[in-house]
Amino acid sequence: MNVSLFAGAILNGLVTGMLYALMGVGLSLILGLLNIPNFAHGVLYALGAYVMFSGAKAFGFLGGVLAAVAAIAVVGAAIEYLGVRRLSRVHPDYTLLLTFGLSLILTETIILVWGPVGITFQPPALLAGGVDLGVTVYPKYRLAVMLFTAALVLACYLFVTRTRYGAIIRAGIEDKDTAAALGINIRLVFTLTFAAGAGLAGLGGALMVPVRGLLSTMGLDILPFAFVVVVLGGLGSLPGAILAGLLVGVVQSLMTVIWAPGADASVFALMTLGIIARPQGLLGQR
């Protein structure tokens, strides 16, 4: 047993897990409020990464990240306003297919603009190098990303559960019609929530660029894991998405050390077991 190896794997798992939680929170809010599994969520993550890459060249690292969040939030708002909204009266399956079509379009757009070849990217100078944690030496940048996303995910949770705006979102998830009848502009809430969820995905993509690099298929690769997180955590449950995100990230990372060929499949096996044992998800109500 190599303690340092396992400590590194667990830390890697927590970094990935926080990313999954970030994706899961956005996906879960969109799913809870608009009742659609957003198949474009993965490609929004990828688009965030690529926008950050181009933005960082012009405005530096922080500027690139901010540009990515803003751009992807706008794209998300546009998807809701121009597409999803028009389908509010038809069967939800059609909305799913719309987001699937958008996913294809955006993936191909990424290849057209940035090319199909993978790109690597160095973390900013301030966060370069490693920190000695006693058990293992770990890259500074990854630690920073882990702490930042943890704080952000916590802030999202507090926003939804403790603020007035969060109460509106929860009311919308509970009962859209009644919320609208009480004078809430539910359409606007839909658009803003979609934009926020997309922005979180874009942020996740941007922050992972120095860790994972850029690949045109990165959106398609992460989407299934984001779905697993939401299903495992419970549809519409934010604490569930956070817990499931961490669980999936750590399991996947540890399996890579123990038995690499089964690392990805184990995540889906975990989901299946979860669904059989707790159909409503780990912390889901429904």
Binding site: L87, D93, Y94, F100, G101, E108, V228, V231
Partner: protein
């Protein structure tokens, strides 16, 4: 009178289908023509669970790929005969669908879609990583195309045209079987579940059990399509198990029009023909596919069949009549807020 007309129309459609089978290899390369009928079987299968029973599966490639790998391995390692392989692949598809479907149908709506999708990914990653058996990313090459042994006679299928005839024959059998299923009382139960699962349960039908049956039958059909696919190029590519294929099958059904027998066939033909035509010209053809999908979803939810119906109504032809167990222009009837 109207019964007679609708019967004539049904015959006419079938004659048109036969004509299409004959003419298709003259219009496109026989390989593409074969691919069209192979995916038509898979689209027909998804139509049974999505169009007729109301469950959108985003994981049909699981059964397509499992059957394709099964067939490939049987032929490479055991030199198994053609019909045995076809039967085995169909069985594997149905069995896998029975096992996975049992878990999936416990949930409805978004959960169901994500479960089918999740299982698809699980098998994809297993095939990707289990390189000693599946060849991983490189695919499983070296699959022979054994001759068709019918009693003492043995028909070689080595040319792509000969193989096309075999594929078309299997397709027609599958089509006939599917027509019998959707026209049967079982098919009517499926549709009642799509229309209103609560009411179907209230009049005494075990909804979960019938969903499970539909899912299993569809898995078998999809499996047979996978077997035909494995022999076509002599290789099972890893992509045959990917969620992109699952999405393609959903797209074919949608573009053709869900809930009637001919829609998925039109959809498969249009999809495969377009992808062949465009991919030669432009490598980034999924972009056009995505645009088409978005446009269909936003403006033409009934698919090609609805387009035909609208066109016919516009030129003043006879009003579209519904055959038993058939919904024309489902997009219009689906134009209501339904639960999952």
């Amino acid at each position: 009178m109207s019964r007679l007309w609708s019967r004539n129309e049904a015959v006419l459609r079938f004659v048109l289908l036969l004509a299409a089978i004959v003419v298709l290899p003259l219009l496109v390369r026989p390989v593409v023509a074969s691919e069209i009928w192979i995916f038509a079987i898979a689209a027909m299968a998804l139509n049974l669970i999505f169009g007729y029973t109301g469950m959108l599966s985003f994981g049909q490639a699981t059964f397509f790929g499992l059957a394709a790998y099964t067939a490939g391995l049987m032929m490479i390692h055991w030199q198994a005969p053609l019909l045995a392989v076809l039967a085995a692949g169909t069985l594997v598809g149905a069995l896998a669908a029975a096992v996975l479907g049992y878990v999936c149908i416990q949930r409805v709506g978004t959960y169901f879609i994500m479960l089918t999708f999740g299982f698809n990914q699980m098998f994809f990653f297993i095939a990707y990583k289990w390189t000693s058996v599946t060849g991983g990313d490189d695919g499983l090459p070296g699959i022979p195309r054994p001759p068709l042994a019918l009693g003492p006679a043995s028909i070689r299928l080595d040319s792509s045209l000969r193989y096309y005839v075999f594929v078309a024959a299997v397709f027609l059998l599958a089509f006939y079987a599917m027509k019998r299923i959707v026209d049967s009382p079982l098919g009517v139960i499926f549709q009642s579940i799509r229309e209103n699962p609560g009411r179907a349960a209230a009049v005494g039908y075990d909804v979960k059990r019938y969903k499970w049956i539909a899912f299993t039958i569809a898995g078998g059909f999809t499996g047979s399509a996978g077997v035909l696919y494995s022999m076509m190029f002599g290789i099972v590519p890893l992509e045959s198990m990917s969620w992109i294929i699952s999405g393609d099958i959903v797209f074919m059904v949608l573009i053709g029009g869900i809930g009637n027998l001919y829609g998925p066939l039109l959809g498969a033909a249009a999809f495969k023909w377009l992808s062949e035509a465009i991919s030669v010209v432009w490598e980034r053809w999924p972009l056009i596919l995505g645009v088409a999908l978005v446009l269909v979803v936003l403006f033409l939810r009934g698919g090609l069949v609805e387009a035909f119906t609208r066109l016919r109504d516009a030129v003043g032809g006879p009003r579209a009549r519904r055959e038993p167990g058939e919904r024309v222009a489902v997009g219009v009837t689906a134009e209501r807020e339904t639960g999952w």
